[in-house]
Amino acid sequence: MKFVKRRANAESGIPTESMADIVFILLLFFMVTTTLRKVDVIVHFTLPKAKAIEKIENKRLIDYIWIGRSGRIQINDSIVKMNQIEPIIYRKRQELHNVIISLRIDVNTKMGEVTDVQQELRKADALRINYSANVKL
């Protein structure tokens, strides 16, 4: 069997005038979807919902502590143990004396663990905290 090559007679060419627009869209898409995040969150968590919520305007002041569903604690990029919290936070407080520690804690965490973390924070003298929560509508 023979294959007959069939070619279209039409002039084939990619329209280049719209290329700029396409590039523009792509640029926009990536600009929008990129979140400027410093750390990867390893732990899984669901934040509680609350009504009496305040915004923290000054993002520079915030440092996060995550406590995940499995009870693991994350600061910066790594999972830490309870007794490691104090030195880490203390160092942070030395760099930035009015640091706000935002606690992003899973809804099902037991208060015992939360209190233990708070005790460590008190020892590190980082007293301004924020229980991170989403807006309840």
């Binding site: 929008v32 609350a50 305040e54 993002k59 965490t109 015992g112 301004r128 924020n130 929560a133």
Partner: protein, 175 residues
């Protein structure tokens, strides 16, 4: 049955491209939430080694106890989570004109097995009680809600209705 098609020059209409790009831009502008951290702010008490017990007159205290299954006691009276706000509001209001050392102290105490969510809900109720009292007070005195007041007036309202929340440690922490 194959009909021969006359082959026309293929081109993509490019005049509407700008519109499409513009629509996309609008869509993403509207849909993006710039991630702002929201939550309930608190200031922890300073760490001290030897805890001194300070006696506080009973009528100044609103003691909130939450047990492991999420039941709430307010001054030894069982109360549902959603009533906390209204009960506290009345007590805060009654102390607006008192001097600073006689304002209400809300103390929150949980069990070690209480769920974090329950605790946040309770805190939320307390904060709401305070915020609503502040709003009503500013509305009555300045005709605006607290948020819209100028800073110096906000300060006055703040000093009239300070938020004092005491976080009691769960029993087992004290040892």
């Amino acid at each position: 049955m194959i009909r021969k098609r006359s082959i026309t020059e293929a081109n993509i209409p490019s005049s509407s491209m700008a519109d499409i790009a513009f629509l996309l831009l609008l869509f993403f502008l509207v849909a993006t939430v710039i991630n702002v951290d929201t939550g309930i702010g608190l200031t922890l008490p300073r760490y001290v080694k030897n805890i001194k017990n300070v006696k506080v007159p009973k009528n100044r205290m609103a003691a909130l106890l939450i047990n492991a299954s999420g039941e709430v006691l307010l001054d030894n009276q069982p109360i549902s989570m959603f009533q906390i706000k209204n009960v506290l509001k009345k007590r805060i209001e009654s102390k607006i004109d008192l001097p600073n050392d006689k304002k209400l102290i809300v103390s929150v105490k949980t069990d070690r097995k209480t769920k974090y969510n329950t605790y946040v809900q309770a805190l939320d109720q307390i904060k709401q009680a305070y915020f609503e009292t502040r709003d009503e007070y500013s509305n009555a005195h300045y005709g605006k809600i607290y948020k819209n007041l100028p800073l110096d007036e906000q300060k006055i309202v703040k000093s009239k209705i300070p938020i004092i929340i005491s976080l009691a440690e769960p029993e087992s922490v004290k040892k």
